[in-house]
């Protein structure tokens, strides 16, 4: 049997199996029979790190959340579901703090996600036109993302400063006599947090959209034009359906990123006014890694994670359903 024929026959045998693609199982005559431990050697470094910092913590976190686990105390008594019960006891201070922080995270997701979906899509449509300097503008729009949240936070903290910031400086010139408390009072804090996040990350989402747009088959637009579709109709009936997988990807990533929001609040508002912009992640880090009440913080993270997994699954199902 020639090597090619061997490949072909094995291709047929393993066919559409999801697993290792055909081919690479040596023939009896081939010089290197696979040693049974070969795959495990390849996997070992990954599995070691994955086990230590992903699998063990996933279980250990659950274990911690069932204990009154304080970093500095020798006794970490088992308390069962008490940490979770506390978070659902309306009078408990931790419950009030937790749900207030969940509200902040939820509000930020609701306010930021639509903008982070729509604006980058508009930007991507703009960048998908043919014009001179396209690469340059694409790079400019992406640039803030490479700065990282700390630079962005410091910069906008200065620009949005109530008394001395550039934004209020220009507003004063336009006749706004009362300085806008961008970083110290609602609803302005939300405008600032969402606006800064859009400024920082819109380029990232546009680049992902743009790749999707460039994958849309031109022939579909030509067909739509032949049928007399207007620009808007082409957008609704060709672009959006073709982009659906990319939209789903961007939506899932953006919801997760917004639900994980930490740096912007930490740097811009410090969670103020009176903890209204303290997000869930901020509270978890504060309770667990500042106050070292790690069992309670672990319980909070599991609740938030559960909620996020449900939201992601709903996202997925909803968009799947619309597709069929």
């Amino acid at each position: 049997m020639t090597a090619i024929a061997a490949i072909a026959s094995r291709e047929r045998r393993t066919g559409g199996a999801p697993a290792p693609r055909a081919g690479l199982y040596p023939t009896p005559r081939s010089p290197h029979r696979p040693r049974p431990w070969t795959p495990y050697v390849f996997l070992a470094p990954f599995v070691l790190i994955f086990g230590t910092f992903v699998l063990v913590p996933a279980v250990a976190g659950l274990w911690m959340s069932l204990h009154n686990w304080d970093f500095f105390l020798p006794d970490r008594p088992f308390v069962g579901l008490q940490n979770y019960v506390d978070l659902f006891t309306p009078d408990a201070l931790v419950a009030q703090q937790f749900w207030e922080s969940m509200r902040a995270t939820g509000l930020f997701v609701v306010l930021s996600v639509p903008l982070l979906m729509a604006i980058p899509l508009g930007l991507a449509l703009l960048l998908n036109q043919r014009f001179r300097g396209r690469t340059f503008f694409r790079a400019v729009f992406f640039a803030p993302y490479v700065l990282g949240v700390s630079v962005v936070g410091l910069l906008w903290q200065y620009l949005l400063n109530g008394n001395t910031g550039l934004i209020n400086g220009y507003l004063a010139q336009l006749g706004v006599t009362e300085p806008v408390p961008w970083l110290t009072a609602t609803p302005w804090v939300w405008v600032s947090l969402v606006g800064v996040t859009v400024w920082w990350t819109m380029g990232f989402n546009s680049v992902v959209y743009l790749a999707g747009l460039q994958n849309v088959d031109e022939a579909l637009y030509d067909a739509a034009k032949v049928d007399g579709a207007s620009r808007w109709q082409q957008f609704v009936h060709v672009t959006i359906p073709q982009l659906r997988p990319v939209i789903l990807f961007v939506l899932t990533m953006t919801v997760l990123a917004s639900a994980n929001m930490f740096g912007q609040s930490y740097l811009l508002t410090g969670g103020n006014p009176s903890n209204e912009t303290r997000t869930a992640i901020m509270l978890i880090a504060d309770v667990g890694l500042e106050q070292f009440r790690m069992g309670l913080a672990a319980a909070m993270s599991y609740l938030l994670a559960l909620l996020l997994i449900v939201v992601s699954a709903l996202n997925f199902l909803f968009l799947r359903q619309k597709e069929s």
């Binding site: 693609r21 081919g23 910092f53 063990v56 630079v151 992902v208 992640i281």
Partner: protein, 301 residues
Amino acid sequence: MATTAVPASSTTRPVPAPRTRRDPATGRGVVGTLLLYAALLILSVLILAPLLWMLSTSFKTTGDATALPPQWIPPTPTVEGYGRLFADAQAPLLRWLGNSVLVGVLHTVLVLATASAAAYPLARMRFPGRRLIFALVIGTLFVPGFVFLMPNYLIVDGLGWLDSVWALVVPGAASAFGVFFLVQFFQSLPAELEEAALIDGANRWQIFVRVVLPLSRAPLATLGLLSFLGSWNDFLWPLYVLFNPERLTLPAGLATLRGAYATDFPAVMAGAAIASVPVLILFAFVQRFVIAGVARSGLKG
């Protein structure tokens, strides 16, 4: 508008169209092109103005930094802001920059090495436990990272890694996304090349290093880039596992300036400028590559 009256089919005729009409290459009229550039220009100003203001302020005196109306050109240019920052032993900015680069590079190398080595047998070999490992990897793709925060803090402490680069390099290096992404790519490679190498007497390791990896430059670059950006931008974890000012990464270090230089805007902006100008210059050179990498991440997912 005159341009809308021209039927689209006019471009198919060889008659030279008047210059004010549609450009046959783009299908846009002059007005359309002007509007397009106007929109791009406004957006670019919105993106770039804050960065220019940062640079401008870093060369101002403290008084000028808060002067109204805003002055884009420093009236009395000075490098005192930079001077105050560099004189401060609590704010070793270049050290932070170096730490960030070191952590980013080590982290990226570790991600690429472990993820590609793990993805290869998952894509190409049959062995007991393969399904279980793959299922665990896929499962964790959907688990948000903060779930691991508390236990990982204890594990890192147990390993004696608190306040060291290892706390930043290793724990996040088990990239479930990376393995998933590379398994998909490896399975899309034609098996014949590897077959041929096998028949020529190469062993699995040689095939992996000499055949598979060289064919995988593009996805490896994408994964490497996303890993580096992730590490470079990581903020929460370094904030809590690093303590010594000498050991901080740039994001964690810059956050300390906020308190220490609350009203010294030139110094704070000098810090922000030192943190961003090298990155922006580097980005200007490799932007095509960066953007291609990010673009590819969405198409696969």
